[in-house]
Symmetry: D2
């Protein structure tokens, strides 16, 4: 079945494999009149690009985006925006030896069971490179949201045992540290930890967090289209994410009602909550507080030590993965989380416009 | 926007408020030829019904289901199955005092911000009673899955600090304990804990788990329709769930790759994993192991002690909630988790039928 | 697959069979705050009810609608509006003899081929009674549209050889004539024609037309969601419709460009067309003129003379249909056309709200 | 709203403007294992390419398709197939004078009303070039259908007053005549007619027909997803189509039931109809006969004589369109009709696989 289309009115369709000719996305339903140029998108793509750092894969991908449609005279036209990134660095021989066996922790086996065969080069469609399309689309969503006063910010919260100190939260550091941590000390500690793992041919998991600021109350829909339900799907759809939570998350299971409820109070004539255990969502609808989402990411499955597995002939074998792999997924996944959140929140805001008769009547009684 | 329809080919639309005339669901896309009668559905509805126990609300709802369409001579016809449960016990006066204020931890404020006004009786559509429609539909999905050899089983894993002992897992206990725990000792401890909370006018959170057994490899779709992504949405859409995870869940963040990868081995001529840290899903597609999902549920927000909040006139006030409320949500939510899982898995299985050319060709070349 | 859900934001799901317990619809996504009561809906249902007239089936259905959810204190709440009509007049024995054979012109054979068996009572889900749910939902859509200044009006244009005279168009007559013709003379001629057919155990086809007035320019979306494409689907989905057209319709095939193009002219400071060959839609988007849709309806397939067919045992047989059947479908289908048009137009108007950045920014920068 | 995505399981998303960098389509949900190469698609694209003939625009577009993803080692992988055609011949200056006015019969005015501004070069997204993506996707659908024994064939039925003679139906001629008529005499007459129109700076409408052969009974879904309803939408979404009909089409309005009903008879042990007034669909579901669809196409709106219109400043003006325009749209639209039909029929066939319990159980109990 089709699995590569996401969103209802702000709808994206991504395509492309790790070692195919190109990757891309068609964004359909972006409002007309947004100023948009390649640089707006490139900035986001650069954040998921492997760096030259000691902790990221040395693979070099230019990942230069090209706008193929949907923008005229510098503004979006309301018709599909097609974005493409050519693959320039694929070297198929790197992967040829894994063509016939199933790497532990990867989707080789499941793709083959589903489809009967698979593009084994670099994981094909199940590669992390698949996210290039999401990020390109998310860059556009972020630009729209900015005009609406909504700001999305994701960052690394922990890598292995190293966690950022919330008291020292430094937003500027996110784009500057190799780990995307908002805390330079934690960044240094995490890098040291990862270098040790690399020497030990192992890899680390981690946690990332995303903050949505400026979202008005009333966004999201009851029952199946709850904002948190849709965000959970959006974030869980990022490869390697194994847990998603909001506000106090899994810890609520041990809390009491008297601790967990957020009280309402008037503040400067507005309704405000005195705490935010809920993470900004009540009954699936935004409550005007910040949305706080957390995602837990498994360690990179590609590790450079012998592993037991089977091959297509049904034989037990031992493999040793080669190639270029990050020792931790989180730092490059942070921008993907930011982008999936942006797309989901924007779609919900667009759909919310017709929730009330008075808005509908206003809209169509105004001379434009 | 419409938020009450769920699923692509096995598609359900639920409706109804806590204190309206009735609640129900229309199931569209159920395969024709399934034997179905009210008793198949009633069995599931009874599991979410408030019991006579010391830990559940004494509110009595008969919750008798009526099949209004889609079944002929005892079998489903392929056309929409409409199921309805009349509300019999609504007593609006119980709730009249909350009409003008926003209960902490509830959706009163967010519904009002979104829609301009709200059905304040018992929480209206944001009430837990909304799940009656989901459970009725899930009962049908479970019956279809049974014919396909897939079995779904959800249960309470913890209530407050009391956790079940996995060594003593007793499947039969799930339907017999008041807490839906698969461990009678834990059940007794949890009941004692809850009775203490009740005396203390407080409430508890908890954790529930769901196991999908017998699911073949290959179910789920890459990218946005990953099986775990769709399950995360399905489970997170259940009111009060704040975290969803698969397999080792949030703990993967602290694991190393060498610990987290599941090895493949041949076993009786079949590919099997030697462990299941992944929780049965790789790359968004089932791997033939059991699917393991965990959901963390916040404490019941309705507690019987004074709480600070605001009213519609913008005044800070103190409220004391009355009425009938469970001190913990989990035991009655377990069947909802089971049902949402069933609907999601069945939809994915139905969609998977056209994933390959050979299946498609076989299907249409067979004389039926 | 699910076929009974329609619409994207104003989404309806209908259910029910001709001789089941009830028929109904759940409307999800209706804007909150619309005043709504049963009488608003009943008025539309009464128009599709068989009358006491000489040309309609004498079957008596009360078709009393009940609002089961989604309305509180007389206004819609934004949550699903569930509407139900109990079947009161089903007499299964009338239909028992057709249980094992396929009536020409009906869906008996195709349903059985698809689903393996069928509810043979009165055509089951393929009966014209299926439209009760559409009409109930359409009544709500019409009420919303009215508040937006959009008025929808369908009527009978021809029955067999009898066509209305456009010069004598009398809107009031539509609801008063037995044929739903806006021309009392044509109505009389059509009735006489139908009485002749009835004596001759035959039936007539006809044409119906629908006018959408007051729709602003800009509604509908390019490519696959064109307003005319979606209307064509909506109208063609009404049983017995075999052709749908807009403006000059099938006659454009013989026109020249110089005849068919509508010129634009300024009129009182507004852009207006000097003719309307296009039927109010250019490039799939409304142009501010009236939308004109025409649908051609086949003759009632149930005729009271011997017909050749086969039975489930694969034998050639002759059947003679009994029961209660209108000699022409059009007069009762007119309101269904009106309702399907209303639902489609309203959905397009709701979706149109986010087409432009300036509208989106305005919406969220306004204090509500 | 998003309007460029079509289909449920075989889902396509097209993008691109007449004078942008490129046009393309992402096909998501194509079954894995289909042999596919550029030549399979090029063959279809060449059919909609302007020819060197006297009746088609002399604009030269290479329209060379490139497969960017979804095919590995010559077979589809089940993941999105991205197809792109670079625009090579756009010369923006040809269109600069229409930037500020609304061409009669075109979508200039409606796009501007909807989106606030428009890509005026060659009609932007509302150009006939938009169909390149549909045709590329349809070529893939046709190849899948071929493997299922389903064959789709569209052709020109009439141009202006010139109609093909059904007695002389010559399938081979369709791909060889300039008009795509299956009748060489009619082709010659039509060309003569068009040359006269061209001299007269006018244009012609026409009718096209599409035949679906080999489709088994049981395809399509009741109520809103009827096969004819979905085909009507698919065909009406092709620019310039103003009417769509099935079987006897608009003529049924004048037929009697005794003429219009198709009798069933046994033939070689199979159920067959003795006539096909219905056009192969009963109750929205295929009946095993050929599907016959007819579409009426308006004359090319671009004519080379002065026309009255208005400009963006609200002034009445006279324009004279220049550039390259076919005097009739039908011959190049025929392949688009074929492709939209293919996509719609294939999607319905894929969705039909889960209609019955026995099929579902068979599928999952078979060892693959």
């Amino acid at each position: 079945m089709a699995g590569s289309t996401y969103g209802i009115v702000f709808k994206i369709t991504t395509w492309g494999e790790s070692h195919g000719k190109a990757l891309g996305v068609a964004i359909d339903g972006c409002p007309a009149g947004l100023e948009l140029e390649e640089a707006d998108i490139q900035r986001y793509l650069d954040r998921r690009k492997p760096g030259a750092s000691s902790i990221a894969t040395p693979r070099k991908e230019a990942d230069e985006v090209e706008i193929l449609s949907g923008v005229f005279e510098g503004r979006t036209t309301g018709t599909p925006i097609s974005l493409m990134v050519r693959n320039t660095s694929q070297i198929s021989r790197d992967y040829s030896e894994i063509a016939s066996c199933y790497r532990p922790g990867h989707a080789d086996y499941t793709f083959e069971e589903k489809y009967g065969f698979r593009d084994y080069r670099g994981g094909g469609r199940s590669s992390g490179r698949e996210t290039a399309g999401r990020v390109a689309a998310g860059a556009v969503a972020c630009k729209v949201l900015e005009k609406l006063g909504v700001r999305i910010c994701a960052y690394t919260r922990s890598i292995g045992p190293v966690e950022v100190d919330r008291e020292k939260f430094d937003r500027e550091a996110i784009l500057k540290t190799q780990t995307a941590m908002p805390d330079r000390e934690a960044d240094a500690a995490a890098i040291e930890y990862l270098q040790g793992l690399r020497r030990d041919t192992d890899s680390a998991g981690g946690c990332m967090e995303c903050l949505v600021e400026g979202l008005p109350a009333g966004i999201g829909d009851p029952v199946f289209e709850k904002l948190d339900a849709n965000l959970a799907r959006a974030i869980m759809s990022i490869g390697a994410v194994k847990a998603v939570e909001f506000g106090d998350g899994h810890e609520v299971a041990k809390h009491k009602g008297s601790e967990n409820n957020d009280s309402f109070r008037m503040e400067n004539g507005k309704v405000r909550k005195t705490s935010n255990h809920a993470g900004g969502i009540l009954g699936g609808i935004s409550d005007g507080s910040n949305i706080l989402i957390r995602a837990y990411v498994k360690p990179t499955p590609s590790i450079f030590r012998p592993q037991q597995t089977v091959n297509q002939s049904g034989e037990n074998i031992e493999i040793k993965i080669k190639g270029r792999h990050d020792p931790v997924i989180v730092p490059r996944a942070v921008v993907v989380m930011e982008c999936m959140t942006a797309i989901t929140v924007l779609d919900a805001m667009m759909l919310n416009m017709s929730a009330r008769m008075d808005s509908l009547v206003d809209f169509y009684s105004t001379e434009r």
